[in-house]
């Protein structure tokens, strides 16, 4: 139990996937304009990441290692992730057309979200067991969602703030992201 709580705290706060490991920056800046769509994106990524963590672990342990074809890790994992994203896209399109519209191109782009592939590969590299892998994937996804929603909340306020013209839009967002990243460094001493 202690191990699992350490994995969770480490993944969500200390080694936050976006703010400390700098993975998944594209949706972090792309879908963080509104809190509602940020939450939706976070949920979609959480789903994909958790299941990708699960399935890739099985693929690694029961397909790649027994057949001694570990060098196919990247392409096999991408195959898994791409299929999962397709699946999520169908479900979201059916269940919530509004969310589907709000996420737009960023939904299929989860495929190329390096956070998903990154976490899957990190699970293998850290030689996690199945439960640890799932927990780590889920916690990383929560960390991603946390960073995304925090960023969206700040950016919603930035819309009304009096910002110098040259910093409006993306520049101030990048500065904000950097400050958030520095703030998250403060969690380093937690464990």
């Amino acid at each position: 139990m202690r191990d699992i709580s350490i994995i969770v705290i480490s993944a969500v706060l200390i080694n936050n996937i976006v703010l400390s490991q700098f993975l998944g920056i594209c949706p972090f800046l792309g879908v963080s304009k509104k809190v509602s769509s940020a939450v939706g994106m976070g949920l979609a990524v959480t789903f994909v990441l958790t299941f990708a963590g699960m399935i890739t672990w099985f693929v690694q342990q029961f397909v790649l290692i027994p057949l001694e074809i570990e060098y196919l890790q990247t392409i096999a994992f991408i195959l898994v992730i791409a299929s999962l994203v397709q699946f999520v896209e169908m479900v979201v399109k059916k269940t919530s057309p509004d969310l589907y519209k709000a996420l737009g191109v960023y939904l299929p782009l989860i495929t190329t979200n390096c956070a998903v592939l990154g976490v899957s590969i990190l699970n293998i590299q850290k030689t996690y067991g199945f439960l640890d892998s799932v927990v780590n994937s889920f916690a990383n996804a929560i960390g991603f969602t946390l960073a995304l929603v925090l960023m969206a909340g700040i950016r919603e306020r930035l819309e009304d703030a009096d910002i110098p013209a040259s910093l409006k839009g993306l520049p101030i967002s990048l500065i904000t992201a950097a400050l958030m990243s520095i703030a998250f460094m403060g969690f380093t001493g937690l464990i």
Binding site: I69, L72, I75, A76, L79, M90, V91, K93
Partner: protein, 296 residues
């Protein structure tokens, strides 16, 4: 090697089957009318209707009841066809289509250069440098932002450094008009043949100093026009000869009288109605390199 191929193939097949089943289960029914309307629209995604693209506009017509005559590129015929699909009678002529016209004749050798521009070959970039590389602050830079922006391949760069608009191909979508940083392009009815090829609003003397073919605000055209269609409008220092397309009969008297020969009369084009624009748009969207070969 053998296992690698087999295992990936099997994984691919398994995921494929799962997705196929999920696709059936989570299928979203799309109104077939949307697709039918999409086929009528030019598919150039120029955005003139106010929607991001042709498919969005088709969706808006079916789902939100948007007006059916918003597409400037296909005119009345398309509006009627869309009306048939929607089961609504669309009456009234849209009038003749519009085409883009360049309100500048100051090409290479005619308009005086202010400096030699060696930056990015884009009018918007050039406009940032001392209001452009020509002495005239109103004229065409000739760097081809309109050529690159045209979704229908209707604009080519001429030998004199001015864009040439193919009026047979132009649909009047207005993308180039919006893209041009000099606002030297305007939409005019295709039947309008006489145009003032100058946008310079400076005093006559200054305009003439900047360019050989400038409107010098002499008002000779205004005095000679039998219809009162052409007028020099605006205060001194910000005036220019403008043709009222409603009144102009294309008689060409002003063309003869203009001392700087800045008014031009074009040859009429064969077709003034709506044409099938899908072909051009398809060419453009399949990676048209603007080589001009499609014109031949």
């Amino acid at each position: 090697m053998f296992y690698a191929v087999i295992s990936l193939a099997v994984m691919g097949a398994v995921f494929g089957v799962i997705l196929a089943v999920a696709g059936k289960k989570f299928a979203v029914e799309v109104d077939p009318r949307i697709e039918a309307i999409q086929k009528i629209l030019p598919g150039a995604n120029c955005g003139s209707c106010g929607y991001p693209g042709c498919s969005n506009y088709a969706e808006a017509i079916v789902l939100d009841g948007a007006a059916m005559s918003l597409c400037p590129s296909c005119g009345s015929d398309a509006a009627k066809e869309i009306g048939e699909i929607m089961g609504v009678a669309v009456d009234g002529e849209m009038g003749q289509r519009k085409v883009a016209q360049l309100m500048c004749a100051g090409g290479t050798g005619k308009a005086k250069p202010l400096y030699k521009y060696e930056g990015i070959q884009d009018c918007k970039a050039a406009a940032l440098q001392y209001k452009g590389p020509k002495v005239c602050n109103y004229g065409c830079f000739g760097l081809g932002t309109c050529v690159a922006s045209c979704p229908f391949c209707a604009i080519t760069m001429g030998d004199d450094g001015l864009p040439v608009i193919d009026r047979d191909v132009c649909t009047g979508c207005g993308v180039c008009v919006r893209e041009c940083p000099q606002q030297v392009l305007q939409l005019a009815p295709v039947g309008q043949l006489v145009h003032v090829r100058c946008s310079n609003k400076d005093k006559g003397k200054d305009a003439k100093a900047a360019c050989e073919v400038a409107c010098i605000k002499c008002k000779i055209c205004e005095k000679n026009c039998p219809e009162g269609a052409i007028k020099v409008v605006g205060d001194l220092g910000s005036s220019i000869a403008v043709i009222d397309y409603e009144k102009c009969t294309n008689c060409g008297i002003c063309v003869e009288k203009c001392p700087t020969k800045v008014i031009e009369k074009q040859e009429p084009v064969a077709e003034i109605g709506c044409r099938d624009t899908n072909e051009n748009a398809a060419e453009a969207s399949t990676g048209c390199a603007l080589c001009g070969a499609c014109k031949e």
